[in-house]
Symmetry: C2
DNA sequence: CCAAAAGTGTTTCCATTACACCCATGA
DNA sequence: TCATGGGTGTAATGGAAACACTTTTGG
């Protein structure tokens, strides 16, 4: 039995909790990874799970998602989008909980690959995702699908890569989202035709002996482009 | 003060209500309409609003949406899809309520145009939507956008039209979704190339003196098509 | 007989795809 | 010098868009 002292103007008998869960994709070493946590509470304590938390009474759901992302990765102001709300009655066996999911794409620097381990978290390759609690497996599946769809209408790579990046890097990002190889000539043609990249004179030689030119992203042109609506099918 | 007697295993202090709101589009007389209700409770009693209800403790959110749709229109088993969840802290000035929205497309028969008036509801033309309570206007805007996107990847018309319909009828449905005129030759070509329509020998003469052939929709071929993934850009 | 909507084909254009070789360089 | 990944152009294909006239028939 529990006392609740807030106003209940609508006078409902509703007793449902609401949580957010975040599906966080990270791009590193030319691979797409997923961030998972070892759950710290019963039921299913110790199992792999998405990052989640209950919404606070004075916090919007968007802010709840941002906060949990920040607390667990240190990342702010990144591409974070609502995915779907999961509301089956028995999805959480302990108690009725409705979960609003968000997904996010971020670049993962080398040190972040390790640093999350402190939180009992781990970056998994997409093809090595372990069994997840409740309906979290379904959430991940839906998020991947959504990500692919999204990629068709927005050049998502730009929220994801470091300030300077090479075309082959961008290509391998798209390849890991789509899970297939792309033709480098066609990819380059398409990307450059959007006219949202600025070429620099510098080269990144970490990927090859010849080195690849570094580009950066022209924010103004990019804004114009998405406001007009892009078609970005690759 | 209120006593809640359900288990609170997670021991949160959360006090947030959760509701569904439905954005119901109806197609009739070659126009797309939106179903709105006069709100019956304070605050904003008497204002126009979407159809909504609080989720019951033992009801999934999908079922909650289906139920409210059935109760207010008598329609079952129709295209009903989750749109987005709205969770700003102050979106409902009375109490913290998070709303999961669903949208739906249905054909509206003549008698239904009138019959909803009993419930203090009304079908509005899309360009005559009145001011709505809270963030419902935003919900409608988002739903229209989603509807257009959806129409590009699924032949949505089939959940919407009566069993027998003419090609010009189908075309005007798409025209009202996209809010622009389509070329009748190209439209017909595209629709028929999908090979999901069965032509009948009957004609509907309500739209013209010549009359247009009635088609019905081949359910088997349709299922095959969406399972393979359709591109339906018009 | 005529107004009003239904029905029909062809051409143009553009975007996507497929495809193969040279370049630069560190080891 | 050679292995490795970076960088480039062109031809073929297919789908979308543009476009105008004939047919039917109730009034």
């Amino acid at each position: 039995m529990k006392l609740i002292d807030n106003a209940n103007i609508y006078n409902t008998q509703q007793n449902i909790l609401i949580a957010v869960d975040c599906i966080i994709f990270g791009f590193t070493s030319n691979k797409l990874k997923l961030l998972l946590f070892k759950r710290k509470v019963e039921p299913a304590k110790g199992s792999w799970s998405l990052i989640g938390a209950f919404i606070k009474n004075n916090q919007s759901i968007d802010d709840g998602a941002k906060q949990i992302l920040f607390e667990t990765t240190g990342l702010k102001d990144i591409y974070l989008e609502q995915l779907k709300t999961y509301g089956e009655v028995l999805r959480d066996p302990a108690q009725r909980v409705i979960s609003v999911t968000y997904y996010s794409l971020t670049s993962v620097h080398e040190f972040e690959l390790e640093s999350v381990e402190k939180y009992d978290a781990h970056w998994f390759d997409l093809d090595e995702i372990p069994d997840l609690i409740f309906d979290h497996g379904k959430m991940v599946k839906d998020a991947i699908e959504q990500l692919r769809n999204k990629a068709k209408h927005q050049p998502i790579g730009f929220n994801l890569l470091p300030e300077f990046f090479t075309i082959p890097e961008l290509q391998s990002l798209y390849e890991s989202i789509y899970q297939r190889k792309l033709d480098s000539r066609n990819f380059r043609k398409k990307i450059l035709s959007l006219d949202i990249l600025n070429k620099t004179e510098k080269k990144d030689k970490s990927g090859s002996k010849k080195g690849a030119f570094l580009y950066c992203f022209n924010k103004d042109k990019f804004e114009t482009l998405i406001s007009k609506g892009v078609n970005f099918e690759i």
